[in-house]
Each structure stands twice: as structure tokens, then as C-alpha cells.
């Protein structure tokens, strides 16, 4: 059993009681909600005649269903309009702070909370969305929950949960040029497998992690769940504190000093005990691309899609399913596979630094004639910042469509969808069958820089050829 890790410390701090069955009752310091997984929870509160216990510990925004072409109300899609209206009504009724479209702070919940300074070290954070693990980048313990647990957090500010084990993933050395956080996390998921994290929190540490910016760290923690880990975190450091400083909801003045003192005390002890430790050599990682139907099925840009014989017995079943669904042949190179759609955005890679990197690749270049390319900023703030820097113009000049913020084609709950068996190069997080809106659509996950390179060439390409 782990001891004295950051996870242990934060868990123990938030433990309200040991429940009769043996699980723990855990206080949730920050609860984030959005339109898709909250309406039934509010409905359940009503049915049980319960109130929201601490309305000011819950913050709302709207992201999954918002259109990215035209956000004027009412939305063209009646169901989407009904969902945003329901959220507006629930927030008003229960006095929950809601960052709506046009507020300047709307966006993907996992982009918005950090940029508002809501996400802070040492907190427990829950949201009805699996990518809540993103917030662990700040040394908080953050995890996705289902709608019944959203109800429980609204009603009690606590949930019932079994304590997780802790696996340290020590990332040795540094990433080489043209290799990004996305490549690192895809590599980790490939090495450990998509279910290795079940029952674990992942602590990412080591020189490669220390060297990452906060936004890159968010990309890493965001995809913990794709490796099966409900929670992923990084010990906070000076980068963490300076990212939070002066944000809208960050502690100010004397409170800032108090916060800083406490945050600095929050990290895994030198001699803390982990349930498991894994070492990754970061300098050997290449730009990485998925070829299959799970985020674990990835290879380096210069590698070939694995043969069935090269895979462990446990991986063969899904590999066979993937060859068939993707219409790829074992042994085929990933490089040069034609792509038809290029998508930059999502809670994994829709932040300003992601847009900067992609724009750098695209500057002065044109998107291939055969490609539909679009960029969806992660939030209104990201969009505004990008415009100030002229990034929107670089994207538009290259042939990318510049859209309004939202989750968009990461999960295709709005009208941004693949058609038929189109192949997309996507900076999002899931390449599941049908994930991007077409039951036969195919997704290749990669870094935003690699999506930009694919857009220019109209096929999977090595971004290092553009930047070196």
C-alpha cells in the first residue's frame, strides 16, 4: 500500500469517514459540471427533495454540445438547445456560477478551470467527465465520476470511493525536438496498456515531466484515463504556482501567500512508498501515432503497424478487430497513410501552446487540397489569445477553418463529424470505433504539430521534417 505520496496526503486530508462497506467518504473541493452529465443529477436531487449542499464549490460551463460554426441562440439543434437551457436553469435555480457562451470564460471544462485558477494543488476535483484527470497536472487529485456521483457531490459535496493504489511513472531524460507531451503519453499508454491503470492513480515524475510546461503536463494527466487510470497527477512546483498566480479565481494578496506556503508543502516525500514504479526513457520516443481502435495501439512515425505475431496474446483480439475496422494491413507503414480530415482541439490539445506549435508548422504553408482541416480553440480565452497573436490568421491563410470553442469532433456531439469511413488526423484523445461521429469513421491520434504536418501533406507525416 502506498505511503506519503501526494495522493495519500490529499486523500487522507479529504477523508470524511470510513463507510460501513469499507470504502471512504471523500470531500470534493471543486466540482465542475457541464450540460451532458448533470441534468439527470439535478433531476435526481429534485426527486429526492434535496438541495445543493455547497453551491459555491460547483462551477459550470457548456462544452460538449455547443456548435462551433454558429453559436447564436437558439441553437439549430433543438436537443442541444434543450441541454444548454436546462443547465442555465439548473445553475440559476441552485445559485451555481456558470460560465456561459459569450462570458469570455466559456470553453471545455478542463481547459477553463485551470485558466480561471480554479484548479489548485492539494484539492480534490471531480466532474462528470473522464478527462477530469487533466487537473492532476497541478498536484490536485482529480477524477471523472458518473451522473449518480454528480448527484452525490451536489447533495453532499462527498462521494463514496475506494482508495486507489499509486504507480509512479518515472520519465527519465528529456523529449527530443519535435516530440511532445502527446507523444510521451501515447508512448506510456502503449508500453503499459490501456487497462494497466485500473485501480491506480498515476504519478508522473522525473526529468522529462519537470521540463514540461503546465499545458503539456495537462496533456499528460488528461490521458491517464486512456491508460485505465482514473486519476493522474504531477507534484506541484514553481511552474505550477506561477501558472496560477493572478488568474481570475486564484487566491490574492495575503491569501496568495497562505496558499503558496501550503502548496509548497504538498508533494510526495523523497522516501514515499509506491505500489508500483515504472521507468520510461523519454529521449528515445519518436512522434507517435495511433493505428488502431484503442489509444494503446500506437507506433512511432517510422514504424510499421505490428504483425499479429509481435503482439502479446492479450492484445491479439483487439488488434485483429483494429486491422479490420481501420482497413490497415499488419506490417504497413503508418507514415504516408492518407488523411481526409484534420482536427486540432479538445481538452487534450486545444490550449494556446498547442495552437502556437501547430501555427508554427503551418506558417506560410497550405493545407493539402484533399483535406478538410479545422481548429477548435479549447476556450474563449484561448481563442482571444490566439487572435491577439495572429494565430487565427495563420490557420485561415493555410486553409484551416477557424471555429468557436467547444469539445467538437473529439466526440462529435455537435455537427462536426466524420463522414463514412473518413480518416482523421486528430489531436484529441480517443480513437474508439465511431468516436468522431461516423460509425465507420477512423481516427489517428497524434500531437497538434503532427496534425498540422498531416494537413499540409495530406498524409501522415513526420513533423520533424518541417521544423528542423
Amino acid at each position: 500500500m502506498s505511503q506519503n505520496t501526494l495522493f495519500d496526503k490529499v486523500w487522507d486530508l479529504h477523508k470524511v469517514s470510513s463507510l460501513p462497506g469499507g470504502s471512504d467518504q471523500i470531500f470534493i473541493g471543486l466540482h465542475l459540471i457541464h450540460e451532458v452529465t448533470s441534468p439527470q443529477a439535478f433531476g435526481a436531487l429534485k426527486d429526492k427533495n434535496l438541495k445543493v449542499k455547497f453551491p459555491d464549490r460547483t462551477v459550470a460551463t457548456v462544452d460538449h454540445i455547443v456548435p462551433t460554426d454558429n453559436q447564436s441562440r437558439p441553437f439549430k439543434d433543438n436537443l442541444a438547445e434543450q441541454m444548454i437551457t436546462t443547465l442555465e436553469k439548473n445553475c440559476l435555480e441552485h445559485k451555481i456560477r456558470f460560465f456561459n457562451i459569450g462570458s469570455g470564460n466559456q470553453g471545455i471544462v478542463h481547459v477553463v478551470a485551470p485558466e480561471l485558477g480554479l484548479t489548485q494543488p492539494g484539492m480534490t476535483i471531480a466532474c462528470g467527465d473522464s478527462h477530469t484527470s487533466t487537473h492532476g497536472a497541478f498536484g490536485s487529485i482529480a477524477f471523472g465520476i458518473g451522473t449518480s456521483q454528480v448527484r452525490d457531490v451536489l447533495a453532499t459535496q462527498t462521494i463514496a470511493m475506494n482508495k486507489l493504489k499509486v504507480r509512479q511513472i518515472w520519465c527519465e531524460n528529456k523529449l527530443s525536438n519535435g516530440v511532445y507531451a502527446k507523444d510521451l503519453v501515447l508512448h506510456i499508454i502503449n508500453k503499459l496498456g490501456v487497462k494497466a491503470g485500473v485501480g491506480f492513480a498515476y504519478e508522473f515524475s522525473g526529468p522529462a515531466i519537470n521540463a514540461l510546461s503546465m499545458e503539456e503536463r495537462m496533456t499528460i494527466c488528461n490521458m491517464s484515463i486512456e491508460g485505465g487510470a482514473r486519476c493522474g497527477y504531477i507534484n506541484p512546483d514553481e511552474k505550477t504556482f506561477s501558472y496560477i498566480k493572478n488568474k481570475l479565481c486564484a487566491p490574492k494578496n495575503k491569501n496568495w501567500e497562505k496558499a503558496l506556503t501550503w502548496w509548497k508543502s504538498l508533494k510526495s516525500d523523497e522516501d514515499s512508498i509506491y505500489d508500483d514504479v515504472i521507468k520510461i526513457d523519454s529521449c528515445k520516443i519518436e512522434p507517435t501515432v495511433t493505428w488502431g481502435i484503442t489509444p494503446g495501439q500506437s507506433i512511432g512515425i517510422n514504424q510499421q503497424i505490428p504483425l499479429l505475431d509481435e503482439l502479446s496474446p492479450n492484445d491479439k483480439l483487439v488488434a485483429e478487430e483494429a486491422y479490420e475496422y481501420m482497413s490497415f494491413n499488419p506490417g504497413q507503414s503508418i507514415k504516408d497513410i492518407p488523411v481526409e480530415v484534420c482536427f486540432i482541439g479538445s481538452c487534450t490539445n486545444g490550449r494556446i501552446s498547442d495552437l502556437r506549435v501547430a501555427a508554427e508548422v503551418l506558417k506560410g504553408k497550405k493545407v493539402s487540397r484533399n483535406v478538410k482541416a479545422f481548429v477548435v480553440p479549447g476556450s474563449e480565452k484561448v481563442a482571444n489569445e490566439a487572435k491577439q497573436e495572429g494565430l487565427d490568421q495563420i490557420f485561415k491563410d493555410s486553409g484551416f477553418q477557424w471555429r468557436e470553442p467547444g469539445c467538437s469532433m473529439c466526440l462529435a456531439m455537435n455537427s462536426d463529424k466524420l463522414i463514412g469511413n473518413q480518416i482523421s488526423a486528430s489531436s484529441s484523445n480517443r480513437n474508439f470505433k465511431g468516436r468522431q461521429g461516423s460509425p465507420s469513421g477512423r481516427t489517428l491520434l497524434m500531437s497538434p504539430a503532427m496534425v498540422a504536418a498531416a494537413a499540409i501533406n495530406g498524409k501522415v507525416s513526420d513533423v520533424r521534417e518541417f521544423i528542423n
Partner: protein, 208 residues
């Protein structure tokens, strides 16, 4: 359409039903219920859309479309079932289709806790045992009686010790899987915790 859906309430000690095998590892919640069906403000109509895309692809040959499975209640799956999105819509859709318990090699964490929260016990068995059960119920009718008190599954010619986390098993036996009232009972402790947490004091701005 099946008989009207009634959600489970209170203690869950026994689940009897026909088994339905669904073969495949890493079956994610997008496949269980594609995202377009999440555009709803209640879970009521999800049952008919469970595995919609997989079912369409298989044109009537999907286990959930086979006539002989229409009354099945115990789903038998392989490893990492329910991975991906946290959408509770996935177990809600399974439950509304008729699933009352799941036996598998392993489950994804969030899916597993969503199942507990809505009253669907998930049991595990080793890969070999799961494959035996799946082979069996692919060829013939398998009716299982699951006794949660003893974690036993029985049929006319099979008895199997199911594995389930002790804390989870107790929650079903006591009815505490429906956690809200148990959590609310500690209201004083919650208030105390709120007052003790260091960051609540320097984050007063969260209030409207």
C-alpha cells in the same frame, strides 16, 4: 419493446437470469452508447440504443439482437469492459435493455463505480472461466442464479465462485450502493471537513 423498466431499489441479494455473451476486450462506453444518444436530459429512452452502431454493423447478428437473448439479464464480457468515457448513460442503457448483473474478466474503474451507483453488481472471473461460460451460452440457454451473500453463481450443471470486492458486495447486501443517504447521514462530519480544509479559507472567492 420489453416490459416496463423499474430501477432496482434497496438491498440486492439475489439476481437470477439468462446469460448473454459479448466477446471482445476493451469495449468502450462510446460503443455501449454512442455520443449522439447523450443528447438527452433523462436516461429513459437509452435502452433501445445500446450498442447501436455495433448492432447496425452486424445487421441483426449482434448478441443484443438475437431472438434467443431477448430476455437475458446477465451479461458476460471479457477484459477492460466499459473503458473510456465516464458516461453513466452506458450502464443506464444496459440496465434499461434488461441487464441486471455483469460478469467479466475485468472492468474499467469509472464504469464499475457507475454500475454500483445504479445497482448493477459486476463480478470477475479468470479469463478461462469467462471463455467457458461464453462458449456455453453461445450454444445453449444458460440460466444463472447469483447469490450475493455467498458470491456464488449456480446453474443446473455449473457452480462458480464469483469474485467481487468485499466493500462492493456489502454495499449491495445492505442497500448502501445507493449512496446519497449514507453520505448525508454524516452531515456534521462534512461540515467539519469543510471548515478544516486549508484551501477553503483562501478560496472564498468561489462564492457567487
Amino acid at each position: 419493446m420489453k416490459s416496463e423498466f423499474t430501477p432496482p431499489i434497496g438491498k440486492i441479494t439475489q439476481i437470477d437470469g439468462q446469460c448473454i455473451a459479448l466477446i471482445g476486450n476493451d469495449i468502450d462506453t462510446d460503443r455501449i452508447i454512442p455520443a449522439r444518444f447523450l443528447k438527452c436530459v433523462n436516461f429513459d429512452s437509452l435502452g433501445e440504443s445500446v450498442f447501436e452502431d455495433d448492432r447496425k454493423t452486424l445487421k441483426g447478428r449482434h448478441p443484443f439482437d438475437l431472438e434467443e437473448n431477448k430476455n437475458a439479464a446477465i451479461l458476460v464480457v471479457n477484459s477492460n469492459f466499459g473503458c473510456g468515457s465516464s458516461r453513466e448513460h452506458a450502464p443506464q442503457a444496459l440496465m434499461r435493455w434488461g441487464i441486471k448483473a455483469i460478469i467479466g474478466e475485468s472492468f474499467a474503474d469509472i464504469f464499475y463505480s457507475n454500475c454500483i451507483a445504479i445497482g448493477i453488481p459486476c463480478f470477475t472471473l479468470p479469463k478461462k472461466s469467462i471463455e467457458e461460460i461464453q462458449n456455453y451460452c453461445d450454444n445453449q440457454f444458460l440460466f444463472l442464479e447469483i447469490d450475493l451473500e455467498n458470491s456464488l453463481a449456480k446453474s443446473k450443471d455449473l457452480t462458480s465462485n464469483l469474485e467481487i470486492k468485499e466493500s462492493t458486495r456489502k454495499m449491495f447486501l445492505s442497500g448502501e450502493w445507493d449512496a446519497t443517504s449514507t453520505l448525508l447521514a454524516n452531515e456534521n462530519l462534512i461540515e467539519n471537513k469543510f471548515n478544516q480544509l486549508p484551501y477553503i479559507k483562501f478560496n472564498t472567492h468561489l462564492a457567487i
